[in-house]
C-alpha cells in the first residue's frame, strides 16, 4: 500500500480531553481509573469514565442523536480542532470525497438499556427515547455524518475490540480504490450496563485497577473513549500509516488462540504490507487488556517475534480497556511516541508475567521512536495490527 498521512487526530479518554491531556498523563503516570460510580446496581470494579459527558448535551440541531455515546463523539470532535480540520477537508475535497469509517462495540445501546429501565406501564418506550436512530448500531456513524455534513461513504464497523483499528484498513482500501480522497476514521465506545455486567459475567473484570502483564493481574478495567483521525494522501505534518494487518483466530468467541496464531498473522501482515522487518519496530502498543489469557498469549508472541531492542507496553492502566475505541486511543498513543520519543511503560504492573520478554517495559522510557505498531484484538477472534511511522519511508 501507499502510506497515508494522519494529518489531524484527537482523543478523549478518562485522563482528559485532547491529545495533550493524554500525553501529560502518560508522562506523569497518573491513571484515569476510578471506583465504579456508573452503574445503579453495585459492581465492585474500576472504570475509565470520561469527565464532563453528563454536562455536554448535543446542540439542538442534533437532538435526535442525543445519547451518551454520541455526546462522547461530539465532545471529542471539539478537541484539538478536529471538527475544524474535518470541515476544512470537506471543503477541500468535497463532501462526497471524504469517507467516514468509524468503529464501535456497543454504539448507543446505553440508550436502549435506559428505555428498558424506564418502560411505560403499557410496555412502550418513554417519549424522549422514541428516536429510532439511537437504537441501532449505526447511530455513531450516522451522527458524525450529520455533525460534519459529510455526503460520501459512511459506515460503522463493529468487530468488538478491534473495531477502531480496522477502520484504518478499510479507509485505506477506499482511498486506494479511488472511492475517496481522504477519510475520517476513529471510534467511540461509552460505558453501559451491557459491557460492565457482560464482562463481569465472563469473570473478566478486575476488582482493582487493571495491571496489564503483572503476574498477579486480576482482569480488565473497562473504560470509555472517543477518538478520530483524518487520513490523506499527503499533508504538512503528522505521522504516516505504513501498514495494516488483519486476521481471524478461528478458535473461540471470547478466548484468544492459545498460541496467538491469529495475532501473529495480523502482525506479520502489517509488517509485510509496510515492507518492514520486525526489527524495524521501535515501539509496540500492546493490546494488553490485563485478562489472564490475552496477556499471557500476547507476551509470548511478542517475545518470540521481536528483538530485545523493541520496546512494548500496554497503556490500559491509564485509560481502561476502551473496547471499540481501543484501536484509535492506542493509535494516538503511538503518535505521541513517534512525535515526542516518549515510550510509556505499563502503569500498575509491578512484577511481570514470566511469559514477557525483555521488550515489555514497566517504567516510562525515552527513545528515538521512528516506527510504532499498535495491536488490537477482539471477541470473535478479530485481530488488527497497524504500523505507523514518523517518516513516509523508513
Amino acid at each position: 500500500m501507499q502510506p497515508l498521512r494522519v494529518t489531524r487526530h484527537t482523543v478523549a479518554t478518562a485522563v482528559g480531553h485532547g491529545v495533550a491531556a493524554l500525553a501529560a498523563a502518560l508522562r506523569q503516570r497518573y491513571s484515569g481509573l476510578r471506583p465504579n460510580d456508573f452503574t445503579d446496581a453495585p459492581l465492585a470494579t474500576y472504570i475509565g469514565r470520561v469527565a464532563g459527558v453528563e454536562d455536554a448535551p448535543l446542540p439542538g440541531a442534533w437532538a435526535e442523536w442525543e445519547c451518551r455515546n454520541n455526546r462522547l463523539a461530539w465532545l471529542a470532535l471539539q478537541c484539538d480542532d478536529f471538527r475544524g480540520s474535518a470541515l476544512r477537508a470537506r471543503e477541500r475535497y468535497g463532501a462526497d470525497r471524504v469517507a467516514l469509517v468509524l468503529g464501535t462495540s456497543t454504539s448507543s445501546i446505553g440508550a436502549t438499556e435506559e428505555a428498558y429501565r424506564r418502560l411505560l406501564p403499557d410496555g412502550q418506550y418513554p417519549e424522549d427515547l422514541r428516536r429510532p436512530v439511537v437504537h441501532t448500531p449505526h447511530s455513531l456513524g450516522d451522527f458524525v455524518r450529520a455533525a460534519l455534513g459529510l455526503e460520501g461513504i459512511v459506515v460503522t464497523v463493529g468487530t468488538a475490540c478491534s473495531s477502531s483499528a480496522k477502520v484504518f484498513a478499510q479507509a485505506e482500501r477506499l482511498i486506494r480504490a479511488g472511492l475517496a480522497d481522504a477519510a475520517i476514521v476513529g471510534g467511540v465506545d461509552s460505558l453501559c450496563g451491557s459491557v460492565l455486567f457482560g464482562f463481569n459475567s465472563l469473570e473478566l473484570v478486575s476488582p482493582e485497577p487493571c495491571r496489564p502483564f503483572d503476574v498477579t493481574r486480576r482482569g480488565i478495567s473497562i473504560g470509555e473513549a472517543a477518538g478520530f483521525a483524518l487520513l490523506e494522501r499527503d499533508g504538512d505534518a503528522g505521522p504516516w500509516l505504513l501498514g495494516c494487518g488483519e486476521s481471524s483466530d478461528a478458535y473461540h468467541m471470547s478466548s484468544p488462540h492459545p498460541q496467538g496464531l491469529g495475532a501473529r498473522l495480523s502482525i506479520e501482515a502489517a509488517l509485510e504490507c509496510a515492507g518492514l522487518p520486525a526489527s524495524a519496530v521501535d515501539y509496540i502498543n500492546l493490546h494488553g487488556t490485563a485478562s489472564q489469557k490475552n496477556d499471557e498469549v500476547e507476551a509470548r508472541l511478542i517475545a518470540g517475534l521481536f528483538p530485545s531492542t523493541t520496546r512494548a507496553s500496554s497503556t490500559k492502566g491509564w485509560t481502561g480497556h476502551t473496547l471499540g475505541a481501543a484501536g484509535i486511543v492506542e493509535a494516538v498513543v503511538t503518535f505521541i511516541a513517534l512525535d515526542t520519543g516518549l515510550v510509556p511503560g505499563t502503569l500498575n504492573a509491578e512484577i511481570l508475567d514470566p511469559a514477557c520478554g525483555p521488550q515489555v517495559c514497566i517504567g516510562n522510557e525515552t527513545s528515538d521512536v521512528r516506527i510504532a505498531l499498535s495491536n488490537s484484538f477482539g471477541f470473535g477472534g478479530s485481530n488488527c495490527s497497524l504500523l505507523f511511522g514518523r517518516e513516509r519511508a523508513s
Binding site: G152, V155, T156, S201, E246, S247, M253
Partner: protein
C-alpha cells in the same frame, strides 16, 4: 473514479418463504409462486453439534448463506476473506440484554453477552470454517446492504481475490421492536471476484456516485422481503435471478449510491449481455 468490473461467482438467499436460491430464483423471475410453507430455521452444519442447537438465529442464517454462496462459487470457505453486514445485529439478544439489565443485571448470561457483539456471526463463521482470513462486520442502518457490498467489491478490487459477502437481519423482539420493526429472517450470501471464471453468474460494472434514486424492486416481488431490515438487497437478487442487462442502484448513505450495471455471460459467443 473510473467504473470498475467485478464478477459474481456465487449467490445464496434464505428466508422462511424462500429457503434457498433454487427456490427463490424462479419466484423472483415470476416463473413460480412462492411456496406456501414456512421453512424451519437452517441448522448451522459448520458448527459442532452442541453449538448448532444454541446458535442464535443471526448465526444460523449467516452461516447457511455463507456456506451456500461458497458452494455455488466452488471456493473453499476457509480460504476467502469475508464481509458480514447486518443492520441491527442480533435484535433478539439486544432485547434480552436490555431486559435482563433492567431487572437482574448480575444474571446476564456470559454466552449471550459474547454473542451480542456485532461480529458474532463472523466469529462463528471463522471458527466453523477454520478460516483465519480477515473478516469484518459492518452496519450502515438502511444502507447496510450497499455498504457491505461496496466493501466486498473494494476488497476484491484491492486484493485481487474473491470475497464473500454475508448480509442478514432477523426479527425484532420485545419493546425494541417499536423502534426497529424488522420482521422475519433474511440472509443473502454473495461471492464477488475480480476476474471472470467458469462459475461466473454475472458481470457487475460498478461505481459509487452521488444520488438518492435507489432502484425499487419489481411490484410483484415487493412483498417478498417486506418488513425485514435487509429488504434493500431485493433489487440486487432480482437482477441476478432475471439475468437480463439492467442497472441497479443501492444506497450507501443519504447522498450516495452504489450503481451497478449487470451483464450476463452468453455461452455461445462469449459475450456479455
Amino acid at each position: 473514479m473510473a467504473v470498475k468490473a467485478a464478477y459474481l461467482d456465487g449467490i445464496a438467499l434464505w428466508t422462511p418463504l424462500l429457503p434457498g436460491w433454487d427456490i427463490a430464483a424462479p419466484v423472483l423471475r415470476g416463473d413460480a409462486p412462492p411456496p406456501g410453507t414456512v421453512a424451519a430455521r437452517p441448522s448451522p452444519a459448520l458448527l459442532a453439534p452442541t453449538e448448532r442447537r444454541r446458535a442464535p438465529d443471526t448465526v444460523a442464517i449467516a452461516l447457511e448463506v455463507g456456506a451456500r454462496a461458497c458452494e455455488y462459487a466452488g471456493i473453499d470457505p476457509k480460504a476467502v476473506a469475508s464481509v458480514f453486514a447486518s443492520t441491527h445485529g442480533d435484535l433478539a439478544i439486544s432485547d434480552y440484554m436490555s431486559d435482563t439489565l433492567a431487572r437482574t443485571p448480575n444474571l446476564v448470561s456470559p454466552i449471550r453477552f459474547h454473542n451480542s457483539v456485532h461480529n458474532a456471526a463472523a466469529g462463528y463463521w471463522s471458527i466453523g470454517t477454520g478460516s483465519m482470513q480477515p473478516y469484518t462486520a459492518i452496519t450502515a442502518w438502511g444502507d447496510t446492504f450497499g455498504e457491505g457490498l461496496l466493501e466486498a467489491l473494494v476488497q476484491a478490487d484491492t486484493s485481487g481475490r474473491p470475497v464473500l459477502l454475508v448480509a442478514y437481519d432477523i426479527e425484532a423482539r420485545g419493546p425494541l421492536a417499536c423502534m426497529q420493526p424488522s420482521r422475519g429472517i433474511v440472509g443473502v450470501g454473495l461471492v464477488v471476484s475480480p476476474s471472470a471464471g467458469a462459475r461466473t453468474v454475472a458481470r457487475i460494472q460498478w461505481d459509487a456516485v452521488r444520488g438518492t434514486d435507489r432502484t425499487s424492486p419489481l411490484a410483484r416481488n415487493a412483498e417478498l422481503l417486506a418488513g425485514n431490515a435487509m429488504a434493500a438487497c431485493l433489487p440486487f437478487v432480482e437482477a441476478v435471478a432475471m439475468s437480463v442487462e439492467r442497472t441497479v442502484s443501492v444506497g450507501l448513505s443519504p447522498n450516495m449510491l452504489l450503481e451497478m450495471e449487470f451483464a450476463f455471460p452468453h455461452r455461445k459467443d462469449g459475450s456479455w449481455r
